[in-house]
Subunit: 216 residues, 4 copies
DNA sequence: CATGAATGAGCGTTCATTCAT
DNA sequence: GATGAATGAACGCTCATTCAT
């Protein structure tokens, strides 16, 4: 089995894919570095040099992968958002339980996902820079927030139908239910050193309050 | 040779106070301008020129009142925070009702205060720039958040004592209760154009959910 | 007569005009510096720093007077073109002679004006950068070349009418007549060190050739 | 041990020449591409990438043929100059006519050669970049301009000897005679869209003016 | 006090050149 | 030989800050 190889062997596809893999790996490294730097100081104060250094490449290299600082920021937000979405959907497919149980599970998975600091940072960056990046805000709203509200609403419908939850007429119920988690995420990034949040306990309070609040 | 002096008669004290008043007015104008500009583009992207123009003075003048852009930002946040505090306390002094009613009133006044866009902007700026301005975050936490939590906690204590509310053991109850309002504030600034919040209705949902959630 | 004055006396207009005069002087210095630098290395290779240094100001100052390198280049060309035009017209108003004499005078004044290296540099820059600055080329054509052709054509008409010159039917006579001067201008800038042009003698050859060529 | 060698049979001489031919072809393609790009934007603004793309090779390949952008520019100018020279000489070998006729022929062939845009571009590039590339200017002067002047001067000598032309004493006669053609070349590149030159008619005017001017 | 011209450090971006594959 | 990813010096432009008037 002598694999041939050597230099010219970009025939079998393998060397090509290795090239691509390397490019992809470097792109990922840059996105990681960008998240770190942007999280640290925000979009405007972030320096492309710092991103480059953080990724271990030289300044010009960043521009081989992203056209501008804005595009890097956008690509980073998009890339880092994607997995959150997948997991949310995945976590939801477990579904032959009571609405109460499903809501409890959903909130727990929400907090669990928030253990990942990256997601919190993305969220904070959207809050901070959203007005300057309207389509990122829209993107985040559509992919994450709107979707999340949909999940909550469907659980509530089930609960109302099954008689577990009372029917609440007002506006914004889903956002109200998710609010505790959102605040926890931001709090951890901005005020945790002043007054820490203990996520487990905070979560149980949240679940308790909400489930009682909804109870028929 | 009485007092010599230049143009204006700063003798009787009155002109002096007019001077001071004028200085104070200009300082206030600068702070207002700063809030507008910082809200629009964030700290790093804000230009001192824009602040000056917004305030109707020349570039150099800003430096007669504030030593640097950072100091201007800090002063602005501090100045704009103060009234929020006063009103919160004031709104709280009405107090011979049931805990249920007092919590309802408290949340309503919280949302009412949030109608003022300035306060929301301050809040968003703290979220956005907090990591770069640790003592502003601390200041905001101490003056606004911590204080607000105290008010909520005292109402809950009263409610538990009076038997209106059940005793909840977990951690972070006050923050959970306030979370809906905080999320509403941020939402209005970042996502309102995509999915509007109708504050009145949202507020009633919030109150309803929380009071039910707390009910003994 | 106590003139008041001191600092605040920007009332009588004089201090204002001094300010303006200084601004105008600095602008002129920058334009001069720009001509030098652009002439030396061309538009693309010219550095704003070099222009600033040549003008004795700092880098940023250039941008107080001109929005960009392109605008500086354009303003410089325009500014440096203006006097050429005035003088051309002026030199032409002397006019009660024979067409022969007038053409001789006109060519002499053309060469005399070309003694000024600045005008030659402008001309060369237009040739070199014209395709990248179409409206500068158009401007130069309209203000200088087209105008110059008009003068020559009017002298020729007079000469034909008076019987001094024969009537030539072809196209481009005026440009042909001016060509010797244009080539001399460029030659002096590009090849003079290799094969010098002695302008006086060259001029007389030119005049001689043209007048004989036109003679009826 | 016969020649060892690697892959291809570069033994019989033929493969070798094919190799060389290919190299030569690619070099020519690069020179062509370089002329296009440099003509379009000038030396400083030209990008090696654009040259590579125009030639259909990759960026690094250019450096296998030319050491630097400067060398590429120089090589391009030299390469593109050579044929002009050959043709000029060739056009001159037709020589058993009157000086008048020979000058007429010479000017016509000058204009005919100028129909080729490449030569005009080279000329313009020399005017534009000459000061930055002194030895290119010298090269151009020596190979093209000086040579061209020699041809004209020899025709004039013949004409003076034969009594066709008068003897003119001044300096720069040859340059004056060629000037019309040079101006036409530049004009076509810079101002033609504003005021077109119709070369045939312009040429006849030129010939007419010059021959009359020289006539004894 | 107020102005706004001037400064110069700093950053985003480009591109000639190199070199591992 | 050919490629194209990587480098890093360089440059246009910005803007917080200073200071003469």
């Amino acid at each position: 089995m002598n694999q041939g190889a050597g230099k010219g062997a970009n025939v079998s596809g393998l060397p090509v894919s290795r090239r691509l893999q390397q490019k992809e790996a470097k792109r990922a490294a840059l996105v990681d570095a960008a998240l770190k730097v942007f999280s640290r100081v925000g979009f405007a104060a972030a320096k492309m040099d710092d991103v480059a250094e953080e990724a271990g490449v030289s300044k010009g290299t960043v521009y081989l992968y992203f056209d501008s600082k804005e595009r890097l920021f956008e690509a980073m937000v998009r890339d880092k958002m994607a997995p959150a979405l997948d997991e949310a959907v995945e976590s939801f497919t477990v579904s032959d339980s009571s609405a109460t149980e499903r809501l409890r599970q959903h909130l727990r998975s929400l907090y669990a996902r928030m253990l990942d600091g990256d997601r919190r940072q993305i969220m904070r960056l959207i809050m901070a820079e959203g007005p300057n990046f309207p389509h990122l805000a829209a993107f985040y709203h559509q992919r994450i927030l709107s979707h999340g509200q949909g999940l909550i609403r469907s659980i509530i419908s089930q609960g109302v139908a099954s008689g577990e939850f009372r029917k609440m007429e007002g506006h914004g119920l889903a956002r109200n239910i998710a609010a505790g988690a959102i605040v926890a995420a931001i709090w951890k990034l901005v005020f945790d050193h002043l007054q820490p949040i203990e996520l487990d306990s905070y979560l149980e309070t949240h679940v308790d309050l909400v489930l009682n609040g909804l109870r028929a």
